[in-house]
């Protein structure tokens, strides 16, 4: 192998020049100065915030409201605090097993929630904690689930990737498996005539799974109200998109399915794109592919320092120049919607809310031993017994 490595030309793979999407978080311009803060006002997104495939881009002129921006800011800040709390709990060895954090990708989860309705459905795989909270869960429920406690949203039986709410069909431990499941959910919506949409999220890594393409085909064939959302954070575990995917323009991978690439760091752009996508699929246009170009600051999981396959400088540069929370903070301040002081207070509130939830979660007891045997089969239809480790641990229903 060593000799092979020597033969290999030391020329970096040339990526053909295309006009790239830009992922800055602070390039949205104010169109008219808002005089009345209770009324919506118009802002203009950067012209490279979207790229489209077989469809038009959403409008670059977006109406926003002060309340909504402030609420988004609070939510993003709270989500980041929650993920940081999970990080600390993991390092304190209170959370065991697998834990994947979405720090840096807040504009996707929060922007998605602001663009859809409670009746829409969302399903994803890893990095599901913010989605679970935004879709009606609680911070306490998520943290308790990570800690494996009774107060967890799956009663401590699921863990990091297995958190559900009535409109959120969970994270999922099998990369890519949630995409055809999402197609099925969308079919049920169509069948029941709900006029709602399903957002099936996956990463740039999962986009190379065969079943993702199977789901695309079925969704287009039957014109399902499904939005397939690729959260492209540029690395599938430890392999960069360029090294894993022949086509890194994930929004073009649906063949006949139109696609939309979105700056996933500017929450105004993400929310606007989600609204566009929701409208697209609920108006009977069939499925849509969406790619959020975003970035995760941490490693893939807690055991990955995240710096062996990318440089510290790269992470630092993204953090300092393209952070979604800082970007929104800047909009709010520059547009005179709130003072730095008021935003600091929101930060403090977020931290206090998360701290309180963590304490409450820690107080929750671990699941009862008898719950080891529940929820395997529907109650009353279980087999006569299930085996434990030893004879006296065999559980009889």
């Amino acid at each position: 192998m060593a000799s092979l490595a020597r033969i290999r030309p030391r020329v970096p793979r040339r990526i053909p020049f295309v006009r790239a999407i830009q992922t800055s978080a602070d390039t949205t311009q104010l169109q008219e100065h808002p005089s009345d803060h209770s009324k919506p006002f118009t802002v203009k997104l950067h012209e490279d915030s979207y790229r489209s495939y077989l469809c038009d881009t959403p409008s670059f002129e977006v109406e926003v409201k002060k309340d909504e921006l402030m609420s988004m800011y609070k939510d993003m800040q709270t989500m980041r605090r929650m993920e940081m709390a999970a990080d600390a709990l993991y390092k304190a060895k209170l959370i065991r097993g697998f834990c994947h954090l979405a720090i840096g990708q807040e504009a996707v989860a929060v922007g998605l929630e602001y663009g859809i309705t409670p009746k829409d459905r969302v399903i994803t795989a890893y990095r599901c904690h913010p989605f679970a909270v935004m879709r009606g869960g609680t911070i306490k429920g998520v943290i308790a689930e990570l800690l494996g406690r009774q107060a967890g949203m799956s009663h401590g039986k699921g863990g990091s990737m297995h958190i559900f709410t009535p409109s959120f069909f969970g994270g999922n431990g099998i990369v890519g498996a949630q995409v055809p499941v999402g197609a099925g959910i969308a079919f049920a919506q169509k069948y029941l005539g709900n006029n709602t949409a399903t957002f099936a999220l996956y990463g740039d890594g999962a986009s190379n799974q065969g079943q993702v393409f199977e789901a695309f085909n079925m969704a287009k064939l039957w014109n399902l109200p499904a939005v397939f959302v690729c959260e492209n954070n540029k690395y599938g575990m430890g392999t960069s998109a360029e090294r894993s995917s022949s086509n890194t323009e994930y929004f073009t991978r649906g063949d006949k399915i139109p696609g939309l690439q979105v700056n996933g760091m500017d929450i105004i752009a993400t929310r606007n794109a989600v609204q566009y996508a929701r409208k697209w699929v609920t108006e009977g246009n069939g499925p849509l592919l969406m790619e959020f170009v975003t970035y995760r600051y941490g490693g893939h999981s807690m055991s990955d320092p995240g710096t062996t396959y990318r440089t510290r400088e790269e992470v630092q540069r993204m953090r300092s120049t393209q952070d979604p929370i800082r970007g929104l903070q800047r909009y709010i301040e520059e547009w005179g919607l709130a003072s730095e002081q008021e935003l600091k207070q929101l930060d403090k509130n977020a931290k206090a809310e998360v701290d309180e939830a963590v304490e409450e979660a820690k107080q929750s007891p671990e699941p009862l031993l008898k719950d080891l045997w529940t929820d395997i089969y529907y109650k009353g239809t279980e087999p006569p017994f299930m085996r434990g480790r030893e004879k006296d641990e065999v559980h009889y229903y």
């Binding site: 459905r121 399903i123 967890g152 949203m153 799956s154 009663h155 401590g156 039986k157 699921g158 297995h162 559900f164 709410t165 009535p166 069909f169 969970g170 999922n172 431990g173 099998i174 498996a177 995409v179 055809p180 499941v181 999402g182 197609a183 099925g184 959910i185 969308a186 079919f187 049920a188 919506q189 069948y191 029941l192 065969g210 079943q211 199977e214 789901a215 085909n217 079925m218 064939l221 039957w222 529940t374 929820d375 395997i376 089969y377 529907y378 239809t381 279980e382 087999p383 006569p384 017994f385 299930m386």
Partner: protein
């Protein structure tokens, strides 16, 4: 991936030469024995219920169309049966399920025009193409799609065209369907999911049309696996499977689609999941099997009691009066431990027959559990008569799956131990 349904059709080809009638010339005046001997086959099995009265006496049958508020009755007056083979019974079950449940949909490769085994024939015309539709050739996609549909509370009846093709969907079935309830702490489930798939050997299916994959799913707690042996069983068990609040894989022995014929009640009825059925009571040895081999076992029991002349010298007269108990397991997961261990505790001997290969097959699990629970009652080690540990080749398929002779040999070995 599709074999023509005609392959399985029994066709009698008559050769006619004008002006002549070719007749077998007898020199002794005695009719020759049929090619298969005088033994019972699927066509003549005593386990098939050929009259209306016998059909209504099917053990465990419960009518599902009676008023739920009144006590259970067993009035069969006014109820009717119709002669059906297994694929017609399967179709009938799906028709009943779809008629009563507006959310029920049937989908799979080629199901809209009837499916390769005709199990969905006419369903699309009856219920519309919105409810009975073809999918692309994407087994993993079908399973995932069905799981998503069922998680929304809809009744999803998916077909995997052959159980041999279920392996691409293995991840979805084992990791998603089986665990959906558990990993959501009971908030979500895919209990309304049923995956139908034809299974077992057909005589010439070869590597990818003759496998019996039920054993691979044994470790997936949360799933149920059901294998019927006859039309009445197929309809009742399929309706139970569709309505069972857990995901069920329903494997239909494909050779029995046409060959097994019974009078099947036309009304809505169910048979219990998780319960084995004792077909013949006995006291000296228990034979446990499911699906197609039920009929091979029946033939083996006849050979033992009344050996054909060619086998007479090989079967000691002392064994011929042995009373053999034959049990059809029906539900493979979770299997009916109580019925099996109760039987083996009485008989002291167990022979397990299945078509899948022996190593880590379902028989291994049953044998281990039985030897643990009945250790002091056993007179002989648990015997497994199974397919060989080889891929199912095309040419000698008959010799790879267990036939009546191998089952007879296994029974004798166990009795002689």
């Amino acid at each position: 991936m599709i074999i023509s349904s005609g392959v399985l059709a029994r066709r009698t080809v008559k050769r006619r030469i004008p002006g002549f009638t070719i007749r077998w010339q007898s020199t002794t005046g005695v009719e020759p024995p049929p090619a298969g001997g005088h033994l019972p086959s699927v066509a003549t099995s005593q386990y098939l219920r050929l009259t209306r009265e016998a059909a209504f006496r099917t053990p465990g049958l419960s009518w599902a169309d009676e008023d739920g508020s009144s006590p259970a009755r067993n009035i069969v007056g006014g109820r009717e049966t119709r002669k059906m083979n297994t694929y017609q019974a399967v179709r009938d079950a799906m028709s009943v399920a779809m008629m009563k449940d507006d959310t029920a949909v049937v989908f799979g490769e080629d199901v809209a025009f009837g499916g390769v085994f005709r199990c969905t024939m006419g369903l699309a015309e009856e219920f519309g193409r919105e409810r009975v539709f073809n999918t692309p050739l994407t087994e993993q996609g079908i399973a995932g799609f069905a799981i998503g549909l069922a998680s929304m509370g809809q009744t999803a009846i998916a077909e995997i065209q052959f159980s041999d093709y279920i392996f691409p969907a293995f991840d979805q079935i084992v990791n998603e369907a089986a665990k959906f309830r558990y990993r959501s702490g009971g908030q979500f489930n895919v209990g309304k999911l049923t995956i139908r798939t034809p299974t077992m050997a057909v005589g010439h299916g070869a590597l990818y049309h003759s496998q019996s994959p039920e054993g691979f799913f044994m470790g997936a707690s949360g799933l149920k696996i059901v294998i019927p042996r006859s039309p009445i069983q197929a309809k009742g068990l399929l309706l139970s499977s569709i309505r069972d609040p857990n995901p069920v894989i329903f494997m239909e022995p494909k050779i029995l689609y046409r060959s097994a014929v019974e009078q099947v009640p036309i009304d809505d009825y169910e048979l219990p999941i998780g319960r084995a059925e004792t077909l013949t009571a006995g006291s000296d040895l228990t034979v446990l099997t499911w699906g197609t081999p039920v009929y091979h076992c029946e033939a083996a029991l006849h050979m033992l009691a009344d050996p054909p002349s060619s086998l007479e010298r090989l079967i000691p007269p002392s064994l011929r009066s042995a009373k053999i108990e034959l049990i059809d397991l029906r539900t493979i997961l979770p299997w009916d431990v109580d019925t099996v261990t109760e039987s083996v505790s009485r008989t002291g001997r167990l022979v397990i027959v299945h078509e899948a290969s022996q190593t880590a097959g379902v028989g291994a699990e049953i044998a281990a559990e039985v030897q643990k629970r009945c250790f002091l009652k056993l007179h002989a080690p648990v015997k497994r008569v199974t397919g060989w540990d080889v891929p199912v080749g095309c040419q000698y398929e008959k010799f790879i799956i267990p036939d009546s002779l191998r089952i007879l040999d296994g029974i004798m070995e166990s009795l002689n131990y």
